[in-house]
């Protein structure tokens, strides 16, 4: 996983973060481990509520009550960020590890000028000499392609469009020359053309400055455009990890496979319906026993209800936590021609929804009855 790269700048080991609510302990992140090499681009993918953002916030020690990191270590250049003093952690936040957020509309303080906010980000740390702060602020805005930067440093956030604000956020993030930039859904609030520009910008910055990027998103298309490696999360756990090619060409976890199938495609049959993943992510207070994906998995086996699979190698640097894996699903369950992806559809194991009503998964006119496929 770290082949051809230098030592990892960031190692997350067995990270578990929980929120202690009145209803019980919500295990938002469970035993998550991954490495980030210098200059690498890593994507963390999953549905809403699968623990992507909490993982990122845990890295920077920003999980607030009632949440708490309950186990694990986060090694930044060998130092455990969970056990350093507050001032050191503050210097690392925004200094060595910067983070940009989903909604650029609300991530800037509305009452301060753009330039002042960028300068403030530098003044919070000792990495940039005070004399250089002002000219560097302007340079950064030019670097992220804010047109007419010299005039616009004096504008307020509401005078900027969403895409321009995200550029400002990126400029702020880069202001202290961080080694890692964590981008939490950086393009979600932006329209598609602006998304592409922001991704291009992140790609250029990664290439030119060598900044490692952790990109958190639910959008696999965004990941494909930027990341070399992908971590797929489901219900607070990593279910699959591999290179972008591996994940996209031969996903091994049924969840990853389903996610990819739910992507809209330009080259798809015009009348083909989008396939959604049936059901909802599990309750994180009382998750189902066994594999957390079993209530929604079309390929589940009896074993999936009782035993929780560990991450197991399925290829070179490619791991997945699944008892079936898609190799077997294709070989034995006819995954290639599967139309109905309802729970247990391919294996017929303990159907939760009896006689499969034509659901949103699209049985329109193809006439393929999924129940007649071979059983696992």
């Amino acid at each position: 996983m770290t082949e051809s790269m230098s030592d990892p700048v960031l190692e997350v080991r067995g990270l578990s973060t929980s929120f202690f609510t009145d209803d019980g302990e919500v295990k938002a992140v469970r035993d998550v481990s991954f490495d980030l090499a210098a200059g690498e681009t890593l994507g963390i993918v999953g549905e809403s509520g699968c623990g992507k953002s909490v993982t990122a916030l845990s890295i920077l020690g920003l999980v607030s009550r009632p949440g708490r990191v309950v186990a694990g270590e986060i090694l930044f250049k060998g130092r455990d960020l969970l056990h350093i003093d507050r001032e050191e952690l503050r210097q690392i936040r925004g200094g060595d590890i910067a983070m940009i957020f989903q909604d650029p509309l609300s991530s800037l303080n509305p009452v301060h000028r753009i330039g002042a906010q960028i300068e403030e980000a530098m003044r919070a740390h000792d990495k940039i000499a005070p004399r250089e702060v002002r000219p560097r602020g302007l340079d950064l805005l030019r670097q992220v392609h804010v047109p007419d930067a010299a005039r616009r440093v004096r504008d307020y956030p509401h005078q900027f469009s969403g895409g321009m604000r995200q550029r400002v956020m990126i400029a702020m993030g880069l202001s202290n020359r961080p080694e890692i930039l964590i981008a939490d859904e950086p393009t979600t609030a932006l329209d598609v053309t602006v998304q592409a520009q922001i991704l291009q910008l992140l790609r250029d910055l990664n290439r030119d400055l060598g900044t490692s990027i952790i990109l958190i998103t639910h959008n696999l298309g965004v990941v494909a455009g930027l990341c070399k490696r992908v971590v797929v999360m489901y219900a607070g756990e990593i279910v699959e990890e591999g290179s972008t090619e591996q994940i996209f060409d031969s996903p091994q976890h049924p969840y990853t496979w389903s996610l990819l199938r739910s992507l809209p495609r330009v080259d798809a049959d015009r009348h083909e319906r989008l396939r959604s993943i049936e059901g909802l992510p599990p309750d994180l207070i009382a998750p189902p026993p066994g594999c957390k994906f079993n209530p929604r998995c079309p390929f589940r086996l009896e074993r999936c209800f009782s035993e929780d699979p560990e991450l197991m190698p399925v290829g070179d640097g490619h791991v997945a936590a699944c008892w079936v894996t898609m190799k077997r699903a294709y070989a034995e369950m006819g995954a290639g021609s599967l139309v109905d992806t309802g729970p247990g559809a391919a294996s017929g194991t303990r159907p939760l929804i009896e006689p499969e009503a034509p659901g949103p998964s699209g049985t329109d006119g193809h006439g393929l009855e999924p129940e007649t496929q071979d059983r696992g």
Binding site: I92, I100, S106, P110, A121, L138, A150, R154
Partner: protein
């Protein structure tokens, strides 16, 4: 677009197509100007401030001079447009000097309330938890103590004086400001730019005073304009009861008190009337000004 030599100015002249942007302050002031009542209030308060400053150096007569004019001289007596009181002191002079006490109490109390209330409110709103619970208790205790009691205790311990009045009023009115700022802080701290600032490594002090405070400024200003008239009224009330500034220093509450017995004795009511009018109009002006500010800075009420 002009050359890059003097970036701020030259590029501005490059001819922008954007509409002239109006900042919060200018927009607020514009709204305030359109509000006639608030404008009248501002003008009155400006005049009052001038009178107050002038009275520090000059009054028609020495306000404390007994026998400056005939006792109970009626308003309109030559040289004494407002008449004289039971000791023959010039009422115009006393009324002018009385504005000093009112404005001093109002403004200094407001300053103390703002500093104390904002600091405490920001802190407990941001830290929450045990600190918040502890301060909630303290605040509730303060709510239970009537300002008059504090004033009387200070009067007994320290003797009469302006400072004691200010302390008594401030001690009994800072909690409202603290509560307001606490609530504002609790809502602003959840906004994404605060999290972004924390992720950027901003220091806690910077987050409190650089990020949260400016965003809560509108409500704080408006609350302050309500503190001022309340403090003036309370201090006048203290003076009326005899716990105010020591005689012979003139203040409007005390003057009203002095005019009360002549009224009962059957003399004309004007000795009571002048300070009462001054007090009422001043309070009204502060309230109109406060309302105007609220309308100007509250985005939900914008038309």
């Amino acid at each position: 677009m002009a050359g890059p030599t003097t970036p701020w100015l030259v590029e501005y002249e490059g001819g922008t197509l954007a509409r002239q942007q109006v900042g919060l302050w200018r927009d607020g002031l514009r709204r305030l100007r359109r509000n006639r009542l608030a404008l009248a209030a501002v003008i009155y308060l400006g005049l009052l401030a001038c009178v107050c400053v002038v009275s520090l150096f000059w009054t028609p007569y020495n306000p404390n001079l007994v026998g400056a004019c005939p006792t109970y001289a009626l308003p309109g007596t030559p040289g004494h447009p407002l008449g004289c009181d039971d000791l023959g002191r010039d009422l115009l002079s006393r009324l002018m000097v009385g504005s000093q006490v009112s404005l001093a109490v109002g403004l200094i109390t407001a300053a103390i309330v703002v500093v104390l209330g904002v600091s405490v409110g920001l802190l407990i709103g941001y830290v929450r938890g045990v600190v918040d619970a502890a301060f909630a208790l303290v605040i509730n205790v303060f709510y239970g103590v009537p300002p008059l009691m504090i004033a009387i205790v200070l009067y007994v311990l320290l003797g009469p004086g302006l400072i004691n009045i200010i302390i008594a009023i401030a001690a009994s009115s800072w909690m409202d400001m603290a509560r307001l700022v606490r609530g504002q802080t609790m809502s602003i701290r959840e906004r994404e730019f605060i999290e972004a600032a924390r992720a950027g490594g901003a220091r806690t002090g910077k987050i409190l005073f650089g990020h949260i405070f400016p965003n809560a400024l509108g409500p704080i200003i408006v609350q302050t304009t309500y503190v001022v008239p309340a403090a003036i009224l309370t201090s006048a009330f203290f003076s009326f009861l005899g716990f105010g500034v020591p005689a012979p220093q003139a203040d409007w509450g005390g003057m009203a008190s002095e005019g009360f017995s002549p009224l009962l004795a059957g003399f004309d009511p004007y000795i009571l009337l002048w300070p009462a009018i001054a007090l009422s109009v001043t309070l009204l002006a502060f309230n109109f000004f406060g309302d105007g500010l609220r309308d100007a800075f509250d985005p939900r009420q914008r038309r």
